[in-house]
């Protein structure tokens, strides 16, 4: 029976396990199966791969850093400095160009050139519509212009597009707080 447990542990949902275990025919099946398994014990890794195409929900919350991008420095500093960081997703020429514009816009924003910063951020958005950091700075820019509605919308978009990045998620949440406070 231990084999059965092992086999179904990857199948999602408790109910499914119960149904598998309680249906008589299914029990028969597992008995047959365990006989097969006993007679030819393959390496566990091989078994895993053979099962791959069936019901598995990809867990998108685990970031997989691509081998091409340099490894990020260890997060020794708890709050990230204000700068544009390398994306975790696979970098395409377009997304690289987009981030470069985001960085330009951040400098403009720092220099108090809010309108120009917004225009540059819009351009960056056109190059990569899922550039989450770009939304963060758009929110920042609209907050400076005291357009809280737009700031909120872009903050929301930043939250969506930076959800896999813990440090950015924290910054986005902090930004949401700031918008809320400014509105009052």
């Amino acid at each position: 029976m231990s084999n059965v447990q092992c086999r179904i542990s990857n199948v999602q949902g408790k109910k499914m396990q119960i149904r598998y275990a309680t249906t008589p025919v299914s029990l028969l099946m597992w008995v047959l199966l365990s006989l097969f398994i006993a007679s030819c014990a393959g390496p566990p890794a091989a078994r895993r791969t053979s099962r791959a195409p069936s019901a598995s929900v990809p867990d998108k919350t685990l970031p997989e850093s691509p081998p091409s991008t340099p490894p990020a420095p260890a997060p020794s500093v708890p709050s990230p400095q204000d700068k544009v960081t390398e994306p975790r997703q696979e970098a395409t020429p377009r997304s690289v160009a987009s981030l470069r514009l985001t960085e330009q816009a951040r400098n403009l924003l720092e220099a108090g050139n809010t309108d120009q910063a917004i225009r540059t951020l819009e351009r960056a958005m056109n190059l990569n519509p899922s550039n989450g950091q770009n939304f963060y700075y758009l929110s920042e820019a609209w907050l400076k212009k005291k357009n809280y509605r737009q700031a909120e919308e872009f903050n929301r978009l930043a939250a969506i597009h930076l959800k896999t990045d813990a440090s950015w998620t924290a910054r986005v949440a902090e930004q949401a707080e700031r918008i809320k406070r400014s509105k009052q």
Binding site: G13, R19, I118, P129, K163
Partner: protein
């Protein structure tokens, strides 16, 4: 013009003139009022706006970066339109370009936009097939990570005078150009007091001989006075007034100021019905470059034109133009302004002019749309005189691709079905395209009809057409609170009674299944299933959901609205789809980005604004279902037509095939194509047959706008493996065709498949077959 005849004659003439001049001055002195008035007039004219300068409409700038797909031919054509001239040697001056097999070398020009001031530098663009491999500065060898190319000039707003002019400052004008102008028109300009006695004597003598004013004999100051303050009639009193003005002008302003005004004022020819004024514009018109780049021979050509621009134009008669030019060059030499060698060199130069350009209105439907907005901000007079720079969202490459795709597509349809051909141009088969950036709402291209000269009716912004199935996504969206893409709908032939009237929707093509999932119902555009959904959720909910997308046309509460019976404006459908591509946010379409004055100060600025049409999660679900349209539904032919990257799309076909639609999008770009007759006679083709191929052609010609990327599911979306037969969680190994499906987290299924989990419902043999399948699967045997 003052060809010296004989020396002795000149001397006597000078003496005579002195007397005449004195008399004239006395007369002027006597009439203090006149001089005072003239003085005031001149001052007023000089201190106020000196010239009317048409406002320029500019396209969006273009970004280049390493790794970008941008076919070399397309980039070369773009640089050509920006006025870069091909040279065979290495580019040495701004505005030159050299092309080779796998690279382009270009000396970029300076340009100013409200965003930045760019100083030109020599750039090498290395190509790897259709992609830019690298961008490198030739002078320093540094790599360029991101480059912005200057905007293209799309249109000028002319006033009644239809003058074009580019102002130059005397500091920018090279010495040899000034010398050439003086040699041709008024060699003693810097030495006479505003009138040249010899000139007047000659003019008087000539006039006495002929009994009327024939010859000008004018100095540069006089020419300016004539052009600037006087009407062109030829009378002695006018001549007198001209002299007075000249003298007053000379006393009030420096020679340099007068020369600068003159160089900007003079008439230099015609470009169609538009007059070219000033040396700055002429330099671009005849030689395609700014004045400071003009050579001696080019300067002499322009100077030679002043006498009679259309007669001596190199576009009119090259030989005559060369002869005239050489006279000017020789005169420059005889005054000692150029060396013998310069003179010989310049005379031996061939006449190399720029391509003759006319004002073909680019993107005419877009310009109309833009003008309409501009006229709410500025009067026509302001637009034609203030020299504003109007920065727009238009992408000339996309616009071109859209225009070509439409013309090609419509001709193809007519060829395939000659009954669509019409004799009268007004009744021809029509089509329209709009291309938007879904997030920003920037209008990249707009083609409002087949041929602007035949019909200026803009079918993107002015037409009211039934959307047909292109409306269905809004119906499915309305159901997303309680239904899911996996919900099963009925495809049975059903007669509904609505307020006493029968409604029996038919499918466009036979769908054999009696039941179908929402995803496939939308993918295959199944009318009966859509009607079933409409009756289940109620029309009111559909109206409510659709209303959030900002349609300005009425949405009457009839069930047939779900099949697209309510007329809409194509632009509004395109805009509404943008929300699906942009996390549910509805952008406001933008054509005008900035307006800057002559000094480059921004007067008007439009940023993107957006409203909330639906949630990011629901938008994602609709997008995901619309991707099935292009992969397994009515638009699956898109792949065969060469569009290999993921696209979400929807076809639309209305009753009796009156309208054919296709709306397609990626995260980067959205395009809507409509095909139909203005009088609604049938096009006899569906959206996928008539509109989709045009979309495919368009997308293929603008690879730089398709990154191939796809939408990431927002946080409230979960992915489940389900059995499509039950819309419940698939039972591992038992459900025959488990599929992955996206759900809103709150209405994801949590029950296992009721059909396949219960063995009792299956036939007796099924369990065993299932075992064999499982065992096979276990060992990886297919």
């Amino acid at each position: 013009m003052r060809n010296p005849k004989t020396r002795s004659k000149k001397r006597t003439a000078t003496r005579l003139l002195k007397i005449v001049g004195l008399l004239l001055l006395l007369a002027a002195g006597a009439s203090v009022v006149l001089v005072g008035n003239l003085s005031k007039e001149i001052e007023k004219r000089f201190s106020g706006r000196r010239w009317s300068i048409p406002s320029r409409v500019l396209s969006d700038t273009t970004m280049l970066y390493p790794g970008q797909t941008f076919p070399r031919k397309q980039l070369e054509a773009k640089l050509g339109r920006l006025g870069y001239r091909k040279v065979s040697r290495n580019p040495e001056r701004k505005g030159e370009i050299k092309t080779a097999e796998s690279r382009i070398e270009v000396f970029l020009r300076d340009f100013i936009t409200p965003q930045q001031t760019s100083i030109g530098f020599p750039l090498r663009i290395h190509y790897q097939k259709d992609s830019i491999e690298s961008l490198t500065r030739i002078d320093t060898g540094e790599p360029v990570p991101l480059l912005e190319l200057e905007p293209e000039e799309l249109m000028l707003f002319f006033g009644k005078e239809r003058e074009e002019r580019r102002l130059v400052s005397l500091n920018d004008v090279p010495k040899h150009l000034i010398d050439a102008v003086l040699a041709a028109e008024d060699a003693r300009f810097f030495h006479h007091p505003g009138m040249d006695p010899l000139g007047i004597i000659r003019a008087l003598a000539s006039n006495l001989r002929h009994g009327a004013l024939r010859q000008g004999g004018s100095t540069i100051t006089q020419q300016l006075a004539k052009n600037y303050f006087l009407t062109p009639e030829k009378t002695f009193s006018r001549k007198f007034k001209e002299l007075m003005i000249s003298l007053v002008m000379e006393s009030k302003y420096s020679k340099k100021e007068i020369l600068e005004i003159y160089l900007n004022e003079i008439y230099m020819g015609n470009k169609g019905s538009v007059s070219i004024n000033g040396i700055g514009e002429a330099s671009f018109f005849y030689f395609g470059k700014p004045v400071n780049d003009l050579s001696i021979s080019e300067s002499a050509t322009l100077a030679g034109l002043i006498r009679a621009p259309n007669h001596y134009s190199p576009f009119a008669d090259k030989n005559r133009s060369v002869q005239r030019r050489n006279i000017v060059i020789e005169s420059m030499f005889s005054h000692g302004w150029i060396s013998r060698q310069e003179c010989d060199n310049s005379i031996s130069q061939p006449m190399a002019t720029a391509e003759y350009e006319t004002y073909a209105k680019q993107a005419p439907y877009f310009m109309d749309y833009l003008s309409h907005q501009l006229h709410t901000l500025y009067s026509p007079d302001a637009l034609s005189t203030l020299g504003l720079s109007i920065y727009t969202s238009l992408d000339p490459e996309v616009q071109r691709a859209a225009e070509e795709a439409l013309i090609k597509g419509l001709s193809r349809l007519e060829k395939a079905n000659p009954s669509l051909l019409r004799q009268e141009p007004q009744k021809r088969l029509q089509g329209a395209i709009v291309v938007l950036q879904p997030r920003t709402g920037y209008i990249l291209a707009m083609v409002g009809g087949r041929k602007y000269s035949e019909s200026q009716f803009n079918r993107i912004t002015q037409a009211h057409r039934q959307p047909g199935s292109a409306f269905k996504p809004f119906v499915f969206l309305a159901a997303m609170d309680e239904y899911t893409p996996a919900t099963i709908l009925s495809n049975e032939d059903t007669l509904y009674m609505i307020e006493g009237r029968e409604w029996r929707p038919e499918n466009y093509s036979p769908i054999p299944e009696s039941h179908i999932t929402m995803r496939m119902a939308l993918a295959k555009s199944v009318n009966r299933a859509t009607a079933d959904l409409t009756m289940k959720i109620g029309v009111e909910r559909i109206i409510k959901a659709a209303s959030a997308f900002g349609f300005s046309t009425p949405l009457p509460p009839y069930p047939s609205i779900s099949l697209g019976s309510a007329e809409v404006i194509p632009m509004e459908i395109a805009r509404a789809y943008c929300a699906f591509a942009a996390d549910g946010l509805l952008p406001h379409p933008i054509s005008l980005k900035e307006v800057a004055n002559e000094k480059g100060e921004v007067l008007e600025r439009r940023h993107l604004t957006m409203g909330n049409a639906t949630s990011p999660e629901k938008a994602f679900l609709i997008t995901s279902m619309l991707r099935s349209v292009t992969e397994a539904g009515t638009a699956r032919s898109l792949k065969d037509k060469g569009v290999s990257f993921p696209v979400a799309g929807k076809t639309g076909t209305t009753n009796d095939f009156k309208d054919a639609w296709f709306v397609g999008y990626t995260p980067d770009i959205l395009a809507l194509v409509w095909v139909g007759f203005d009088d609604s006679t049938p096009v006899k083709a569906s959206g996928s047959a008539a509109a989709l191929p045009i979309f495919a052609d368009l997308m293929k010609s603008i690879p730089q706008h398709s990154s191939g990327g796809w939408f990431q599911p927002p946080p409230g979306i979960v992915n489940r493996t389900i059995c499509p037969m039950s819309a419940q969680l698939a039972v591992e190994g038992r459900c025959p065709e488990p599929v992955q499906e996206f759900f809103l987290a709150e209405n994801a299924p949590n029950e296992s498949c009721g059909i396949h989990a219960e063995w009792g419902r299956d036939s007796g043999a099924e369990p065993f077959r299932q075992i064999i399948r499982d065992v096979k699967k276990f060992f990886g045997i297919r």
